[in-house]
């Protein structure tokens, strides 16, 4: 765990949010923590597709979104002790209409090898969302049918939602144009 402690942490008496959290249960061998009424599971990259497939059989039949977080500038919170924090995290949100519950999967993705297997075969609706994560974070999805930029121009350099991609780094056009 990182040693970073932020000034002005609200509620000084509350435990450090970056402390490991004991898992409440295991689902298909994956630790699950309940966070404010929602289940959060922490599969490894290699376990992801298999887990999503099993969860689909359990009733989590729709994948709502796939997104990413770059934890470069802040430590992660709420991880179970067995999970080693990495720079990137891919977040998959599933919903079971029958149980009326959502499940969030947080997958750790190391900076030196940002590759995650695609969920396209299980939930084809993740195709565009995975392209967005690739576009914004540079995380590649192994086996994706069309991994190209989706929001940024095709010739764009860098991945805008990474924390080391500054705001306002784009050169402004017509800046030196004469004033009227």
């Amino acid at each position: 765990m990182s040693e970073t402690h932020r000034a002005g942490d609200p509620g000084a008496s509350s435990p450090d949010p970056t402390d490991p959290v004991a898992p409440d249960a295991h689902i298909h061998g994956i630790p699950v923590v309940e966070v404010r009424g929602q289940d959060v599971a922490f599969p490894d990259r290699s376990e992801l597709v298999d887990l999503v497939r099993k969860l689909r059989a359990d009733g989590y039949i729709q994948c709502l979104t796939v997104t990413g977080v770059d934890y470069l500038a802040s430590p992660q919170t709420g991880l179970p002790p067995t999970i080693r924090p990495e720079r990137f995290e891919v977040v998959v949100i599933l919903v079971s209409h029958l149980a009326r519950r959502r499940m969030r999967l947080r997958v750790q993705v190391p900076e030196h090898d940002p590759v995650v297997p695609t969920l396209y075969e299980v939930h084809p609706g993740t195709e565009a969302a995975e392209r967005e994560v690739f576009d914004m974070f540079g995380i590649r999805f192994d086996g994706h049918p069309d991994l190209t930029r989706i929001l940024m121009p095709e010739d764009w350099e860098g991945h805008p939602l990474r924390k080391d991609f500054g705001v306002g780094q784009v050169p402004v056009q017509f800046k030196d144009a004469p004033n009227r």
Binding site: A57, G59, I61, T77, G78, V91, H97, A99, P124
Partner: protein, 446 residues
């Protein structure tokens, strides 16, 4: 954690829920999943610009053409690459990003007090929902419980906004299909609803009215009468639409059986809202995962039966009626009390207090310079927007700005069904299909 595992659902017939109208069964989930659920895995055109440009037109009988990004029926700046054989569409590639302004990145630079000004501009036809979901995500992390009046104000504004958003759909859907009188009528009714929103929030669109901890102000004097006048005027006009549209053979011919989607396809592609419900699958967050005070109001979830463009039109038309029902109940049941929580670390003090109290001045100053801090953590909150599940994934690092803000726009997911709706149809039907999905590009591109 209770229960540790979700109930085993695979193979079972579906949940039985007893209602006043007898037991109702949710649609079967015993179908196929994943890519195998897709009728035509080859409906999506996966081809880059270069490949499309270098394709030899003399070989084969297919043509690749561009529709948009400035085509009037694409609702903004959506571009479609279409592969045609004669007039029949084979494969489609939606090309998005023309309206991308990095709003999720911008969200990381704005405090929780400023954040709504950013999110409200995503789905510009339903701004109240975007504000609500952002505030709900922050409140979820802070553990704030809203006073009843604040909850009901939010619900009232949401339903009013749902009506204006659906009128916008009726107007543009009419325009796309050549019924220009419907466009004028839809716009007229929407404008009245927007004037009501202006009366309450002060702005026609992009309200920035829902704030963390409640709303920016209380409901103004006379809101009941204005709202009642509006609601009284609508049933007659909705009946007019039914004469104008439903009973018109051309309208039915243009929409019925066009852009058909099955439940399995809709679920596999992550569709939600009217697009999913048109297939006969009754999933509405307002009923199935009640938030705000939807538990306390009486309304029906409208579902279709054929999954075609006509169902999607009819669902939205009838959802207006359901929203009117909820609004009537809001008028009757609006509780008295605070419209925001009385935590001065979160909500600013009343203007008058600043003149007489040093502490109020300090609180005001701190709130508007530094903002309030949200405990570290991450969470996902969703609401049922007029287009489907609008979700907000928020990561906080215990500062006054979100560490990561992700909005799950329903249009972004719903757009992915387009290749499957268009496959095998004609160019003329493409316009009807795109329109029936009702995409808002501000939310798609963010």
């Amino acid at each position: 954690m209770s229960p540790p595992l979700p109930p085993p659902a695979a193979g079972s017939k579906g949940s039985m829920a007893s209602t006043s109208e007898g037991s109702q069964e949710m649609a079967s989930i015993g179908g196929t999943y994943g890519v195998e659920a897709l009728r035509e895995a080859g409906a999506v055109l996966r081809m880059s610009e270069t490949e499309a440009a270098t394709a030899d037109p003399s070989t084969g009988d297919t043509t690749i053409i561009n529709m948009g990004p400035q085509h009037p029926s694409t609702h903004g700046v959506l571009r479609l690459m279409l592969e045609l054989e004669g007039e029949t569409i084979l494969r489609t590639k939606p090309v998005i990003g023309y309206l991308h302004t990095g709003m999720e990145k911008t969200g990381e630079t704005l405090t929780y007090l400023q954040g709504q000004t950013n999110t409200t501009r995503m789905d510009y036809a339903a701004p109240i929902f975007n504000e609500t979901v952002f505030c709900a995500a922050a409140e979820d992390l802070m553990g704030i419980e809203l006073p009843p009046r604040a909850i009901w104000i939010r619900m009232l504004l949401c339903e009013l906004n749902r009506i204006t958003s659906h009128f916008l759909f009726l107007a543009t859907n009419g325009l796309d299909l050549g019924s220009t009188s419907m466009m004028i009528y839809g716009w007229r009714e929407r404008e009245e609803g927007i004037r009501l929103l202006e009366l309450i929030t002060g702005l026609r669109m992009n309200h920035n009215f829902i704030r963390v901890g409640g709303s920016a102000a209380d409901l103004p004097d006379g809101w009941r009468e204005r709202l009642e006048t509006y609601l009284d005027s609508l049933p007659e006009r909705l009946a007019e639409y039914e004469v104008l549209m439903d009973k018109q053979p051309i309208w039915r011919g243009r929409l019925q059986g066009v852009g058909v989607l099955t439940t399995d396809e809709a679920l596999a592609l992550g569709a939600s809202g009217p697009v999913l419900r048109s297939t006969g699958y009754a999933w509405d967050l307002r009923r199935d995962q009640p938030y705000l005070a939807y538990d306390d109001v009486d309304f029906d979830v409208i579902v279709g039966s054929y999954g075609d463009a006509f169902d999607r039109y009819a669902i939205r038309l009838n959802e207006i009626r359901e929203s009117m029902k909820i609004l009537r109940q809001c008028i009757d049941k609006m509780p008295p009390g605070d419209y925001r929580i009385q935590d001065k670390k979160v909500t600013p003090p009343p203007r008058q207090r600043i003149d007489e109290s040093m502490e109020a001045l300090i609180h005001h100053f701190k709130l508007f310079t530094e903002g309030f801090k949200v405990p570290a953590g991450e969470g996902y909150v969703a609401v049922e927007s007029p287009r489907g599940e609008l979700g907000c994934y928020l990561v906080s690092d215990a500062t006054s700005k979100p560490y990561r803000l992700h909005i799950r726009g329903p249009s972004f997911a719903n757009l992915q069904v387009l290749p499957h709706l268009l496959h095998g149809g004609t160019m003329a039907d493409a316009v009807a299909s795109i329109s029936s999905v009702d995409p808002i590009m501000g939310e798609v591109d963010r």
